[in-house]
Amino acid sequence: MDVNVEAKRILAVSISKLYASRTQRGGLRLHRSLLLSLVMRSARDIYHSSRESEAPIAAAPEEPMDTSSRAEEQTQLPEPESEPQPVANGAEAASEVSDSREEESDGETTEDKENVSPTRQSRKRRGKASAAPDFLPSKRARLEPGEERYAAPLGSCRTMAGESLTTLSLNRVIPAF
């Protein structure tokens, strides 16, 4: 579907712009970040609504993505797709840096989404919607042959469903000041 393809592309472009803006001279521009997040929000809405509607049809192409993610998930605590992680990490890092900049330290009552316990919402939507958004480059760590994966400690796991990841990143973009 054309709109879906375009939505994916726009999301990918937006994320890279978000990254780039963090290193811009003069600091993060609030207006620009706001506009970026608005575009990302509409693109994400279109993307997910069209994904929902075409979910049964797209079952087959999704499998290769899923098996790779599932294989890794067997060996360690459920970990959501790492592709969106850099986004959330980036936005979160930006917000961490900026939390110290924020003049009102109590200004945000944001949920502490990163440290949600694994039982909450982590099993939700294990189907297609939580599979790796395929517009993002795969940044999944790959095991070299001969290496073993160790079970990661609880605290370092990001345990969110795919959809709420982008929600997190969008909402955190703005408080990044």
């Binding site: 726009i10 003069g26 609030l30 620009r32 575009v39 509409s42 900026s98 900049r101 408080p175």
Partner: protein, 450 residues
């Protein structure tokens, strides 16, 4: 209207290599502003410098060199700074310059970067006192035993010197990036606006300011719009307007309350649902707002259009002008190359009959509100031989070239953008900033307003 426009020689801002397309980023002009009489024209650049041009008085002997602008003064207004607390570099780029109305021999202007506003005094010195009794020519104290008689120091003419000195520094009042400054008609106060707040200052007081607008939400995650521009009414010192990223304008009255969070009037055009796209919000963000000289109208610029609003009608603009509607189908590419974030300014002519704004490919557009005619002109070296008449340009859809000089949408150079333009307050003289070059065009046929 503006068709027969002569070009004065291109005034190159800071030197350039003519054979190369090399542009030092610091030389990129970031603001242009005439003073209230039009005698002086100030430009600010990304490197924090201000260059002031002065119009030569018309001379009888050389009738064609009348009214040319030459460099009057250059100074460094802002330097790059570092905010250690937030680990942020503060750019030295001059975002806006506003002149104060002239009250004595000196000229005053306000210049601002992202965080700090400065008041500069520009004065001339063309005489020098000579013949001091206690000091010699070099200023050294004389040996009193050598002084045998007293003399009265006399003023001797010297070569004109223009001195610039910072008189006030208004700092530490903005958390976010300053986008506008506007001098009040009371000539005592001015305002500075950043993304979320507007502060009112007294020109003589630098250690405090009053916050008059604050749209910061309690929870930043709820942020939906920012302030993009603000301006005082030209005659009513209690009224000002500010524009938002959502495309709305708010007129505020300072008499109503100390904090003008509640607007007196809200100007908003409902969005056309059929035109909705991913980028609807970005292109509806207002990049500039200007009161007409009469104070009756507002001119706003968003990405694709310029709109004239009547202060008495909040529901929709009086007039809408398409600046470059051929870009509407290209918004996705313009988003990718960042052009969709460009902030174009707009300007009124002295009689409020013509509006002007910039576009891409070094084109700028003028719309005559009365005749409804519009023209597209180009600010470029080739088209700007002195005394040359500017040729109107036309942009046509891809593959639809009708005339020789037409340019197709796909050949537009999006790196050549005219964001900053200014119109002389009374005459048909315009200043166009094209990246690092400043072009000044005069309409020789009719110098008076019509």
């Amino acid at each position: 209207m503006g068709e027969d426009t002569d070009a004065t020689p291109t005034l190159n801002h800071h030197g350039f290599l003519p054979d190369h397309n090399y542009v030092t980023e610091a030389d990129i002009i970031s603001t242009v502003e005439f003073n209230h009489t039009g005698e002086l024209l100030a430009t600010g650049d990304k490197g924090g410098r201000v260059v002031i041009f002065q119009r030569e008085p018309e001379s009888q002997t050389e009738p064609f060199s009348q009214g040319e602008y030459n460099v009057y003064s250059t100074f460094q207004s802002h330097e790059p700074e570092f905010d250690y607390l937030k680990s942020l570099e503060i750019e030295e780029k001059i975002n806006k310059i506003r002149w104060l109305p002239q009250q004595n021999a000196a000229h005053f202007l306000l210049s601002t970067n992202d965080k700090t506003v400065k008041l500069w005094k520009v004065s001339e010195r063309d005489k020098r006192p000579e013949g001091y009794n206690l000091k010699d020519e070099e200023g050294r104290i004389k040996d009193l035993s050598t002084v045998t008689s007293l003399q009265v120091p006399v003023l001797k003419p010297v070569d004109l010197m223009v001195e610039v000195s910072p008189r006030r520094v208004f700092a530490n009042a903005h958390t976010y990036h300053i986008n506008s400054i506007s001098v009040n008609s009371d000539y005592e106060t001015y305002m500075s606006a950043d993304d979320l707040r507007i502060n009112l200052w007294h020109l003589d007081i630098t250690d405090r300011s009053f916050n008059i607008v604050d749209i910061k939400p309690a929870n930043m995650e709820d942020l939906t719009e920012v302030i993009t521009a603000a301006e005082f009414h030209p005659h009513h010192c209690n009224l000002f307007v500010y524009s938002s990223s959502k495309g709305t304008l708010r007129l505020c009255d300072m008499r109503e309350a100390a904090l003008c969070d509640k607007h007196s009037k809200l100007f908003e055009e409902p969005e056309d649902p059929s035109a909705h796209s991913f980028f609807s919000e970005i292109i509806s963000s207002v990049s500039d707002v200007k009161f007409s000289h009469s104070g009756r109208y507002l001119l706003t610029r968003d990405y694709l259009t310029a709109k004239v609003w009547d202060l008495n009608m909040e529901s929709k603009p009086l007039e809408t002008y398409q600046v470059h509607d051929y870009l509407r189908s290209k918004l996705c590419s313009l988003y990718e190359n960042d052009c969709i974030f460009d902030k174009f300014e707009c300007a009124w002519n002295g009689s409020d009959s013509v509006i002007m704004t910039g576009a891409y490919n070094n084109f700028f557009r003028m719309f005559d509100r009365n005749t409804k005619r519009d023209v597209t002109l180009e600010a470029s070296r080739e088209s700007s031989k002195p005394r040359a008449v500017l040729k109107p340009r036309r942009v046509c859809a891809a593959g639809g070239k009708r005339r020789k000089d037409d340019i197709s949408v796909d050949s537009l150079d999006f790196t050549k953008k005219i964001l900053h333009t200014a119109w002389h307050p009374t005459e048909n003289i315009i200043a166009i900033a094209a990246t690092n070059n400043l072009y000044i065009f005069q309409d020789k046929l009719s110098s008076e307003m019509h």
